[in-house]
Amino acid sequence: MPVYLPIAEISVNLFLILGMGGAVGLLSGMFGVGGGFLMTPLLIFIGIPPAVAVATGANQLIAASVSGVLAHWRRGNVDFKMGTVLLVGGVVGSALGTWIFALLKSAGQVDLLISLSYVLFLGVIGGLMMVESVGALLRSRKGTVKRKKLHQHYWIHGLPFKMRFRKSKLYISALLPLVLGFFVGILSAIMGVGGGFVMVPAMIYLMGMPTSIVIGTSLFQIIFVTANVTFLHSVTTQTVDVLLALLLMSSAVIGAQIGTRIGTKMKGEQLRSLLGLMVLLVCAKLAFDLVLTPDDLFSFTFVEGTH
């Protein structure tokens, strides 16, 4: 059944969109990630203009993050103070990201920017995840467990503007979450992702936050950053397709519920290695498309205003 998307200005199959939303929701529920890094490339693969895919992906992520954060909030797993500092950086970063996006869109380089960002980040994150989870799987087979130090001290702990985050049991420089939030905010605007896949490892390994509150806090700040991205893309490029977002949201939440149930039955290392593999596959497909000689070297876009 075809549905005409008013902003993307193309007809798509309703069940294809619902199926995609459901599948990405399922995976995001299983792995506890937002799924933006899968949703945006998939939308591009089926022919949604990249700019619309990024902006609509961000809109869809608001809903996913809200339903996720409410569940974590009930269990008391959100550090609102940390989240607020992160989102201040995130809002500024996403504003800069949207500006870069609009600039490159008019120069005809935005598709390249999106693809390159994906290849770079998915490649690095997916590779690290594979190495870490395969290592953990091998260790668990050998039966030896390395003990980590309770607290490690890096140069990071010498930074000024120290702030106390009670929930996270941390006393660290506010600059750290601000810069992290800012950096992830840029990615969010350019890639149409929540940035959980960068934020979560950085919060655990870089800042030393307790794992239990990392996901809830990350989701909390993602709501605000993706809302800001949605708003700015809506104002600067008018590329948010509400109808597409609503279709994706409705199927993604159902998929996520099923995914969460499957996820609890699987081992952490298995999940992480599977997720790592999937991230690498998406990365490989995008990298391949960049290197492969295109069928047609030419492309054209309608100039704004004459459309």
Binding site: P6, A63, Q109, Q238, V240, L243, S299
Partner: protein, 257 residues
């Protein structure tokens, strides 16, 4: 469907009678119309076909001995486009050059009773801009390979069925009545269209008729589009609120306790 065709034929018969009482002129003349002058693009739009029909009558108002040739051209709204060319830079394909080209119709279709090359000499076809490769695209810059950029537009538009040459034939039903159908795919751009019908005899243009045609977005889709364009700030806020509510509802439905 057959019912519609039958009623159209009745209408045509009435039209033919009407034409007969027109004052006589020297050559064959043309009367044409389209089954609809307005195409509504709603959220379930999957493309549509329009029936274009007409009659050729001789100077005396009777059916002509030789009806001549009919070429139908439907042109969509003209726009300006940016055509970009990719080149390999450090192993990856990057848009390196771009040219602005204007007067690019968003839709272009022709139909004729026999191949246009047999109907008229190249000069006439060139003058009437008949055929996608004879469109008068214009650009400010004139690089050597400008033709490649122009051909790219035609190729791309042809791939998505927005440009077609002889997608359907014009059929003559008897000596004076003709009909053809023009297909508009799902991705047809909205705007003001024009349907041109040319009557040619031995390669000479004898008569021409143009009729307007409008393709508009209707329903919720159009309202969303116009709202997004006219009130981007409100649209952005609405999109956020909608997502917040959707997320909250989802959480409420699936709450375990």
């Amino acid at each position: 469907m057959t019912g519609t065709v039958r009623s159209l034929l009745l209408l045509l018969a009435a039209l033919t009678c009407f034409v007969r009482i027109l004052p006589a002129s020297a050559d064959n003349t043309l009367v044409t119309d389209i089954s609809s002058h307005l195409i509504s693009v709603t959220s379930d739009f999957t493309g549509t076909d329009l029936l274009l029909f007409g009659t050729v009558t001789s100077a005396e108002g009777a059916a002509p001995a030789d009806h001549g040739d009919i070429i139908v051209v439907v042109r969509g709204p003209q726009k300006e486009v940016t055509v970009r060319k990719k080149e390999r830079v450090a192993g990856i394909w990057v848009n390196t050059r771009s040219i602005e080209i204007s007067k690019v119709p968003g839709f272009y279709a022709i139909a004729s009773n026999r191949p246009v090359d047999e109907i008229a000499p190249p000069g006439t076809l060139e003058r009437l801009r008949i055929g996608p490769n004879r469109l008068n695209f214009s650009s400010k810059s004139e690089p050597k390979d400008l033709q490649d950029f122009k051909q790219a537009i035609v190729r791309k538009q042809t791939n998505v069925e927005l440009y077609t040459s002889n997608q359907t034939a014009v059929y003559f039903l008897g000596a004076s009545l003709f009909r053809t159908s023009i297909h508009f795919p799902a991705n047809v751009p909205v705007g003001n269209y024009v349907a041109e019908v040319y009557l040619l005899q031995d390669g000479e243009l004898i008569s021409a008729q143009t009729s307007p045609l409008f393709i508009k977005k209707f329903g919720i889709g159009r309202q969303i589009f116009e709202f997004a364009q006219s009130y981007p700030i409100l649209h952005g806020i609405a999109a956020i609120l909608l997502a917040l509510i959707a997320g909250w509802i989802a959480s409420a439905i699936f709450r375990k306790d």
